[in-house]
């Protein structure tokens, strides 16, 4: 026998598919072609789109519920570091209640979409606080009634601070 493998391989006729398989395969193919692919595709597309929308809505709802539950269990989220620092600064020149009030006014609201709104509020509120704690207007110019050194805060916006026991401007 020849030891040339290609010549040997060329002499052989591979066995093919059985004759009866042709009708079976073509019948299956014909059935597949008769199916309506467009309707299937459209239905599948709408189902996918509806599934995505539902997933997004559910995710948002679950997130909100989770935040509410956590707030109920552990209280509101802690204030950001810069707001906490300002609160400590306020406490150093006033008292704890005033500092707490300032932090609550300056802490960001939930889902605040404007990234600069908080900074603007921070600047505005800190300016007002500084004015409130350092500004003073004489209550009465008459030395008989006021006495030397008596004075009151210049603006009603700081009424809460007066109520919180801010020492400046209180009668001696």
């Amino acid at each position: 026998m020849s030891d040339d493998p290609e010549r040997l391989l060329d002499r052989l006729l591979p066995r093919g598919a059985p004759a009866e398989l042709r009708a079976r395969v073509l019948a299956t193919v014909a059935a597949e072609l008769r199916a309506k692919p467009k309707r299937r595709f459209r239905g599948r597309g709408w189902a996918v789109a509806a599934g995505v929308l539902l997933a997004v809505a559910l995710n948002g709802w679950v997130s909100r519920r989770s935040e509410e539950r956590l707030a109920a269990l552990y209280g509101p989220e802690p204030a950001p570091a810069d707001v906490a620092d300002l609160g400590r600064s306020v406490e150093s020149v006033s008292d704890a209640d005033t500092a707490r009030w300032a932090v609550q006014r300056l802490a960001p609201r939930p889902r605040d979409a404007d990234p600069f709104r908080r900074e603007r509020l921070l600047l505005q509120e800190s300016t007002e606080l500084l004015e409130a704690t350092t500004n003073h207007v004489p209550v009465d110019a008459s030395p008989e009634k006021a006495g030397a050194g008596r004075w009151r805060p210049a603006d009603d916006r700081v009424a809460g601070q007066r109520g919180a026991g801010l020492g400046h401007g209180q009668p001696a």
């Binding site: 040339d4 493998p5 391989l9 002499r11 591979p14 066995r15 093919g16 398989l21 014909a30």
Partner: protein, 170 residues
């Protein structure tokens, strides 16, 4: 084949019959070797044509229809094998149409035994080159290797067969 591909993409049932007549025997032989069973090759051949029909619209963009169909068949065979136990090698009678003379019988038995000694990649290249009639480029597309790799595997397979044949008693 381009005209057939265009008609296939349009869902022409007659075009599928033409495709079957052009490729089925080669596909069936290839699948029988990969699966180790002619019966399993029947099922996978049907699944192959079914998948081609399901994705008929893609055929309009296919450059080489023969390579495409063999690639589908290869993937279907891999999916079919899955966790099934490996089957025995096919006999010469399952692989080839053998004439009644002794010389043909001897050649068929020798080739069947020699092919069984090749590794999977080498055997596959020999099957696709010799019995499916694919070019090395088409074999590369089917098996996912560069054309040169397919050619290298083929030469290695022939060298191995040649060495084995040389050691056989005459």
């Amino acid at each position: 084949m381009d005209e057939v591909a265009r008609r296939l993409a349009g869902g022409d049932a007659a075009a599928f019959a033409e495709l079957y007549d052009a490729c089925a025997d080669r596909l069936h032989h290839y699948l029988a070797v990969r699966l180790g069973s002619r019966h399993d090759a029947d099922d996978v051949l049907q699944e192959t044509f079914l998948r081609v029909a399901r994705n008929a619209r893609r055929l309009a963009a296919v450059e080489n229809l023969t390579a495409y169909v063999f690639q589908i068949a290869r993937n279907e065979a891999a999916r079919f094998v899955g966790t099934r136990p490996r089957r025995e090698e096919l006999s010469a009678d399952d692989l080839f149409e053998i004439a009644a003379d002794d010389e043909s019988r001897e050649a068929a038995d020798t080739v069947a035994t020699g092919l069984a000694r090749l590794n999977g990649d080498q055997r596959e290249v020999v099957e696709l080159k010799h019995f499916a009639g694919l070019t090395f480029r088409e074999i590369g597309e089917v098996t996912g290797v560069p054309t040169q790799t397919a050619a290298t595997r083929y030469r290695a397979a022939l060298d191995r067969l040649r060495d084995w044949l040389a050691r056989q008693p005459t």
